[in-house]
Each structure stands twice: as structure tokens, then as C-alpha cells.
Amino acid sequence: MSDEDAGKALQKRLLGEYYQSLGDAGRSGQKVAYLFVPGNVVELLRCFDMLPVYPEINALQCGIKKMAGDLILRAENIGYSSDVCGYVKNDIGLMLSDRQSPFGPLPKPDLLVCNYSGCNTFVKWFEALAHFYGAELFVLDIPYLRERGPSTADIEYVVAQLEELADVCARTSGVPFDRERLKRVTSLSYAAEKLWVDVLHAARSRPSPFDAYFEAVFYMAPLNILRGTEGCVEYYRLLLEELVSRQKEGRGPVPEEKFRVVVEGPPPWPHFRSFWELFKRWGVCAVASTYSKVGGLFDQGVFHDPAQPMESIARYAMNSYTNWNLGLRLDLLRQYLREYEADALIIHSVKSCRSFSVGQADFRDVLAKEEGVPTLMVESDLADPRYYSEAQLKNRIDAFFESLAHRRLVGG
């Protein structure tokens, strides 16, 4: 078995086991906590043997498996507006369909942990689930990074709430809080996070051994779902080995890397493949993306720390990409454009997620008009297949790379 297959096989096995455990939750009696990806506190939940369920990941899987359209309609049938987030409607649709996900049945929540980092809609989402399931809801309030970094008051506030959440978890699961265990779990998180940063940095080489948007979104799945486990660390070890060997052979995701781009915004899950094709045909490789940072800005030096587990969880939670203020986000885009020697910026603006989208036109304004970075902004949605117009997108993407290629030709 080649390295490449080893990595994929392990990911498949680990995620398979995870979904199996979700299917068995009813029988095993394990308590189930729903939580969000950005700023999640899974390390804490693992200390209480709670099973984490990520509704966002279920929604994106439904998108890829072409189930989202029907599920969204189900939610709209009970009164959800066509203008609200497609992820939420997808999840409500799943609930109305006995939680039959593409990977088997999902358990009901015993506890809803609303770690709302970078998205106010998370609160509305779990308020709705609390309403429909009657499950206990804990809103973990994570302050927005409105200044350069978290203040002491911010950290103290989040840590205090984490302690309160630990009490709730102990009560729900019947497992007492073991702080030594939290240290072990956070050290496993740290090991995987370090390897993931090395993976991301591999895209600095020419050609990049992987697409830091279209492939990274799959590579980041174990970090979001299995963080704090041994399997997760092993997966990133194998992935890094694979990328290093690709790097040595000069292999990348496109036959010839013609354009290196930075991508801002989530992908259109229901049309993931065809969207990727629109770029591939121009020899485009994403070398950095912001979407791969929604689960944490590890590459900016924010890691879990077994020496200060609670405090590091609080810092981590505040440093998810959409919880950064727009100034910080703009600086990060600049950094990526420079660090990864990108030719252009692609902004995929999605209707569902205002948290991502509002302000993107300002990024475009600054970077394209003031700093001369070729920038393309296209619009569709991350969950709702109805907002994807292939002909329109193709037209814009072709025109953009046409003019980039032309400029290169003329400019020599």
C-alpha cells in the first residue's frame, strides 16, 4: 500500500468508526453532545466520554451527497424563510426525516453546546433545536475578536464558562471531571495541530503538492471531528508523509500549475466537483484558503496547550477565522497572498453565511483597487443548490483567468 492510500484508508476507517459510534449511541448509552466546528470545546467533552455530533458537518455531507435540496425544502415547509442559512434548514430537515444522514442514523442530543464563535446564527440554530428536542442548551459565549487579540477579561469570561460547562457535562454524563485527562487530550490535539500546520505550509512549494482549498477541506475533517484522539495524530503523520513524497516528485493537484490563488469563503458543497473543475481547467491551484481555518487558526500560532488546558481552549475558541474582525481578516489575506506567492484572490461569497460574506466587497475594494491584487468575487451558496448557476460562474471564472493569462502574455 502506498503512503497515499494509507492516509486515505485511515481517514475512511476512523470516520467510519465515528459514524458507527453515532449509530450505536442509543444502545451504548453514551451521552450525545451537539456542538459547532468553530471554536469547539471537544477536548472538554471527551473528558466526560460524550459523543460529539457536528450539525454543520452533517449539513455539508448532505450537500455533497445531493440530499440538501430536499432537506432544505422540508424545513421551508414548516415555515423557514428562503432567506435564512441553508445549513440550519438542512439540519432541521434532517430532524424532520428521523435524522437519517448519508452515513446512517444520527442520535438525538442530550446536551446542546452552543460554542458560538464567529456566528450569531449558531445561537438561533441551537435555540431551535432546544425547542424541538427539549434538550438542555448551554450557550458558551465567545467574545468576538474586536481588537488585536483577546483581553484578559475575555479569557477569564470564557474560562469561567468552561468551568460551568464542565459541571453541566459531569451532571449529564455521570462522569466526574478529571483534569489530568484533559491534559492528555489537549496534548493529543496539540500534536495533530502541529502536523496540520506543516501540511498547510507544504503549499508554499512550487508546484504545491495539494490544493489548499478543494483538497484541504477534506484533509481538515479529522481535525474537526477527531481532534484529541491518537488516530487523529496518526492521520496527519501519514498525510504529511504523503505530501512530502508528492513534493519530491513535483506532483500537484493539476497537471501543470499555472495560477496560484488564495480562496476566501466556503465552498458550494452541492456542486463541489463542478465548481472545482471550473478552476482546474485553467491550471489553478489554491495555495491557501480561509475556509480551512474555520476550525482554528493554528497556522497563526494558536494551539491547545496541555500546560494550561482551559485557557488554551478559550484562546483557541476565540481564534476561529470568522471570529476575527474584518481588519484582522484582511491582514490574513494579505499574509497568505505574500507567504504563498499567489497570483490572485478568489472570493466565493455565499448567501447563507453573512458572517463570512458581509465585508468581502470591502476586501475586494482594498486589495483589487488599492493594492492591485487581481481579485474575482463570485456568488452562490454553501448549502442551497438553488443558488448555483453554472453558466454564470463559468463565464466569470473564464473571463478572470483569460484576462490574467492575457496580461501575463503581454507583460512577458
Partner: protein
């Protein structure tokens, strides 16, 4: 506004985006707080369109439009509270486009059950206050804060007196009139506004209007973006008495007076955490809002609920589904209207409300 600036050349004016901004702090710093409620129907959106996508609510677009056109140059600062993703990101857009302005994003606790919520709110208010002190060039003493709280308490009492009178005798004043009186406070000094409200109340008492055969309702959903005045009138003219509403929620924030005692900052923070009114943009502290609504209808004797939600306002649109479910099981009729600041189809709305009124009356 400009006139006020000319009369008080040394004083600052600081804007507040809805819903929960402690304008007491702005006043205590010596500045005039100005509530921003968007551009209404009067401003043509031509600059903001290129900055804010078409799937975003009118108030964010029209407020930015006013700014980009220079209509908000009289403001020295602007405070955005943590109500939704749009307002939050708008604070960043604002900071970039208006670098000379003092722009602050205020993170208000969504976890109001946590014992740490009060200390956190105090820290956050202190941070805002420090910024205001820098802007206004003078430190804020506890007595400044007490005086501002006192003026706000009086203002809120006057507002509530008007609202309570309408609730008891809805025929005496129209909701759109009350609304106009309250809305005027957005650009006035608290004290001036308070006397205006008192005059309005006295005038309403003298009117001697008689009750009509109308349907008493609660109006919900417009806590941030404001519906066109014509729309509020249309709801009334179509046959509703609006007993209670959540219009301009932020300016009449608290039902009870905030103690202006030894630790005024703590009193303000405690008031937010413990007794700020529920809305779609503040996570409930105890019982969910939707569970309280049927009970509230019965208490007030409201026969139904009219939801006016701003188009694209996600928080209100999510809550709508939950409210609707609870009202249906309690068999309380409701009607749901989506509005935009620029709305021409008021006639269609009138027809909808009339149908709703007929269904309630002839049930």
C-alpha cells in the same frame, strides 16, 4: 443634528446602532447619543450596493449609504452592539471606510445565566467608556454616570407612561403617533425628549376619543430595522389596535429604573444581564420567548399577533417559526408580513391585515 452641533461646538455626537447600546455611557462622557435607524425610504442606495450583497437587510445598506454619502459626518463615533453577524461585520466595514471616526464593537454576553456575565459586561462597558473618554477628552466621574442614568430613567418612565396608556386605552392614541414621538428621541437630548413625551401624554388624555371595533394585537419583529411609518398606519387602519410592540426596543430598553447608587456601572451591567427585554438578538435567560408569547397575549387581552419582520433579518426569521408553532398550539391567530425600508406595496399588506382582522372578527 447639524443645528445642535453648531450650538454645542465643543461637544461630540456618538451614534448607536440598534438594539442594545448603553447610551448612558455616551451621555456620561459628555457626548450626545444618536440612535441610527437606517435611511428609511428616502435614501437612494447607490454606493452601498457595491459593498453589501443584495441578500442583506435594508438597515445595514441604508446606514452605510448615509455614511458613504457624508450624511453622518456630524457623528464623531459609532457603537455597534453584538446583535447579529451583519451588524458585527458592518462595524469592521465602518472602521475601514471612516477612519477618522471612533468605531466600537460592543460584545454583550449571550450567556446571561453565567455568574461571570455581570463582571464581563462591566469590563466591556469600561472598555467602551475608556474609548469615549479619549474621544471627549475628559474622564467620566461616577456622578456623570449617575446623572446620565437618572436622565435615562426619567426618559424611559415617560416613554413607558405613554406606552402603558396606549395599552390600557388603545383608542386614545394611535401606535404610529406614539412611535413618532418615541422615534424623535433618537436625535434629541434625553431631557428635551422627556418633556416632549410628557406633553404628548397630556395631549392624548384630552383627546377624548371613543373605542372602536378593532382587533387588539401584539406587534413583534421590528426590534432593529424599522418598518415604514405607512406600514404601521396600515396595520392600524386595517382594523388593529396595537397594544404592545417591540419597535425601537433599544431606546426604551428597561421597564424598571436602574439604580443610580454607589456603583452605577455595575447597576447598568446588572440591568442588561438580569432585566433587558427579550428579543431575537439576545439569547433568553430563563424561559424561551416563544413559550411566553401565548401567556402574554392572554395577559394583555390581545386576540392575535402581527409579525413585522425585516426582509433578510435572520434572527427574526428563525424565531418566527418557533413563535408560530406555539401560537398555533395555543390557537392564537397571527399574520406574518416581511417589510423593507423601501416598500411600495403597502396596499398589498393592508389587504393581508384586513383579511386577518376579518378572520379574527368573524370567527
Amino acid at each position: 443634528m447639524r443645528a445642535w452641533k453648531e450650538e454645542h461646538p465643543s461637544r461630540r455626537a456618538v451614534g448607536a446602532f440598534p438594539v442594545y447600546v448603553p447610551t448612558e455611557l455616551i451621555q456620561a462622557a459628555g457626548a450626545l447619543p444618536i440612535w441610527l435607524y437606517g435611511g428609511g425610504g428616502s435614501v437612494e442606495i447607490s454606493h452601498a450596493d457595491s459593498r453589501i450583497q443584495s441578500f442583506v437587510c435594508s438597515i445595514s445598506r441604508s446606514t452605510l449609504e448615509l455614511g458613504l454619502r457624508g450624511h453622518l459626518d456630524v457623528l464623531d463615533g459609532l457603537v455597534f452592539p453584538s446583535i447579529c453577524d451583519v451588524a458585527r461585520n458592518l462595524s469592521g466595514v465602518w472602521a475601514r471606510n471612516f477612519p477618522r471616526m471612533f468605531v466600537e464593537f460592543l460584545h454583550l454576553p449571550q450567556n446571561r445565566r453565567s455568574p461571570s456575565a455581570v463582571p464581563y459586561t462591566i469590563a466591556e462597558y469600561r472598555r467602551l467608556l475608556a474609548g469615549l473618554e479619549r474621544l471627549c477628552g475628559k474622564p467620566v466621574a461616577p456622578e456623570d454616570l449617575r446623572a446620565a442614568i437618572h436622565a435615562h430613567n426619567e426618559n424611559r418612565e415617560a416613554a413607558w407612561a405613554l406606552l402603558d396608556a396606549r395599552r390600557r386605552t388603545p383608542w386614545a392614541t394611535d401606535a404610529w403617533e406614539t412611535y413618532a414621538f418615541l422615534r424623535a428621541g433618537a436625535v434629541l437630548e434625553r431631557e428635551t425628549h422627556t418633556s416632549l413625551l410628557r406633553q404628548a401624554l397630556a395631549a392624548a388624555r384630552e383627546r377624548g376619543r371613543r373605542p372602536k371595533d378593532k382587533v387588539p394585537v401584539i406587534l413583534l419583529g421590528a426590534f432593529c430595522e424599522q418598518p415604514p411609518l405607512d406600514l404601521i398606519r396600515a396595520v392600524e387602519e386595517a382594523g388593529c389596535y396595537i397594544l404592545e410592540d417591540d419597535l425601537l426596543l433599544g431606546s426604551r430598553w428597561f421597564r424598571t429604573s436602574i439604580p443610580d447608587g454607589a456603583d452605577p456601572l455595575r447597576a447598568l451591567a446588572e440591568a442588561y444581564v438580569a432585566s433587558s427585554p427579550p428579543s431575537s438578538v439576545s439569547h433568553y435567560r430563563g424561559t424561551p420567548k416563544q413559550d411566553l408569547l401565548p401567556q402574554r397575549c392572554r395577559q394583555l387581552g390581545a386576540s392575535g399577533v402581527v409579525f413585522l419582520t425585516a426582509k433578510f433579518c435572520e434572527p427574526a426569521l428563525y424565531d418566527q417559526v418557533l413563535y408560530k408553532e406555539r401560537l398555533e398550539s395555543a390557537q392564537i391567530p397571527y399574520v406574518h408580513i416581511e417589510f423593507e425600508e423601501k416598500m411600495s406595496a403597502v396596499d398589498t399588506v393592508r389587504t393581508q391585515i384586513e383579511t386577518f382582522v376579518e378572520s379574527v372578527l368573524f370567527e
